[in-house]
Symmetry: C2
DNA sequence: CTACGTCTCGTACGACGTACGATAACAGGA
DNA sequence: TCCTGTTATCGTACGTCGTACGAGACGTAG
């Protein structure tokens, strides 16, 4: 997966690595000139992702990854400029898992499958959420996905600027939704962990007290109603339906705009 | 600001603080029983936020905040259970800056002003994005905002479950947009910092090379076209327009759904 | 063999979160 | 006033982190 021959198309102005110190004549640049020994950039990323998947973002330390590869910690720095760069590379790598089909002529379907695939990847790799803040991913995998997303919108016949805004609106919703879902799952786990160390009656008491305070204050009638309705049992199913609801609203809004544009112009 | 008398309405099952170790009889519980000395929870949060605003999330360390308050590092732990709890409290605290009006009868206007206010707060405190992943904020300020958001939707006459999904859809979009914008601003700053240490002609060369590679690969025609069009100069103005575009699509989609529901039922 | 790029890694430094226990400041009762 | 217990502060110490630095090992070209 992933295009190998243009691994570094993107990310201009990235920090220098040790091997960039050689005069820039780019002699033996064909693949294979590096990594004659065991360690390679791709392997490091793979291991880092495996550790993150298994134990979360906090478990990803240089020492830990090096240990996992039976290698000295500082050896990693020949292949990777810094931990931050590693984070970026992990993010880029995971974009390869996003499956965006070639445009099928059904733009809604294409956008929906982009959205679902991206959501699935982010839920499968929740640590990605923690790294997203540092900067937008930018590499060939991300570019490929963006390219296909834009291609799917061609049939709408919008001008370029509007097309970009449409694509970004959908992407924005998807990322926000993934962020929210990861938040929910994490705090659910945290609550369960806390409850496991407590006698059950104390847990029940704490929850009852919680609801009582919300109701007693009288300031949150809607939230109290939601609690009463026993809504949102945090099931994966509920979350998927919620995701689709918001996505469909966004797509409806886009469709309405396109129709208005067509009849107006 | 912020409701003082129900500071802890929410967050059931939170980790214990040292003063909770006393037998649970809650004798001198009226305000003022604590913080007879200088240090107080609210002050710590204020200082932490000031540091984060000025120097970013990474600058927020227990030692740093303690130093800023002329106090030993471990003194903070009397008032705050852990660094993670401090993050949650900081998040909760900035929610107080979100200005959601009481419902005016114009639900679109109310939702728009919620969205703009939230976006403004997150752009003013970009570090909040870094803490958002750990878990959803949940405290009186956040509850107040959620309550008003739900109240603004009352006039739509939707059932409770749908109302919740509508509110979440808008909130999801807003958070995703803020995340994206903070990403962009940060990588723009990083690029400028990198460019500042390089001779200008090298910067220009790097950018040209960047575009050339994208074009030469032939795989990204839409992205190349966007580059050619000189689109998206990353101005705050462009970003605001983009935010409004996506928000309006979402609101259009919601409105369409409401109308369909009304005529269908 | 020598010389030179490529790559690995041991050591060390400063910063981090925080467990632990000593200690100070204060309140109320005698 | 002194005594006693609660409230609050803080110095020290441990283990972990990212990574700068420089010494070396390896592979290849001359």
């Amino acid at each position: 997966m992933g295009a190998d021959d243009d691994e570094d198309v993107f990310v201009p102005l990235r920090p220098l690595l040790p091997h960039d110190a050689g005069r820039g004549d780019r002699r033996g640049d064909r693949p294979g000139s590096r990594r004659v020994r065991g360690l390679s950039r791709a392997d490091i990323i793979d291991v880092a992702i495996a550790v993150a998947d298994a134990e979360g973002a906090d478990a990803v330390s240089m020492r830990r990854i090096a240990h996992e590869m039976h290698v000295g910690a500082m050896s990693l720095y020949w292949h990777i400029a810094s931990k931050e760069e590693l984070h970026r590379l992990m993010l880029e790598w995971v974009q390869a898992e996003v499956e965006v089909p070639e445009p099928t002529g059904d733009w809604r379907g294409d956008l929906r499958s982009y959205a679902h695939s991206t959501r699935a990847v982010l839920l499968r790799h929740p640590w990605a959420i923690d790294f997203l803040g540092s900067g937008p991913p930018s590499g060939p995998n991300d570019a490929r996905n963006a390219e296909r997303l834009l291609a799917a919108l061609d049939e709408l016949g919008l001008d370029l600027a509007t097309t970009m805004m449409v694509a970004m609106s959908v992407g924005t919703y998807v990322i926000g939704a993934a962020l929210r879902e990861v938040q929910e799952i994490r705090s659910q786990h945290a609550a369960e962990a806390a409850a496991a160390n407590l006698p059950p009656e104390e847990v029940a008491a704490a929850l009852a007290e919680f609801g009582r305070r919300i109701r007693r204050s009288g300031r949150y009638p809607h939230i109290a109603a939601a609690l009463d309705a026993g809504l949102d049992p945090d099931s994966p199913d509920t979350r998927t339906r919620r995701f689709d609801f918001g996505l469909d609203r966004m797509l409806d809004g886009i469709e309405a705009r396109v129709k208005a544009d067509r009849s107006g112009a």
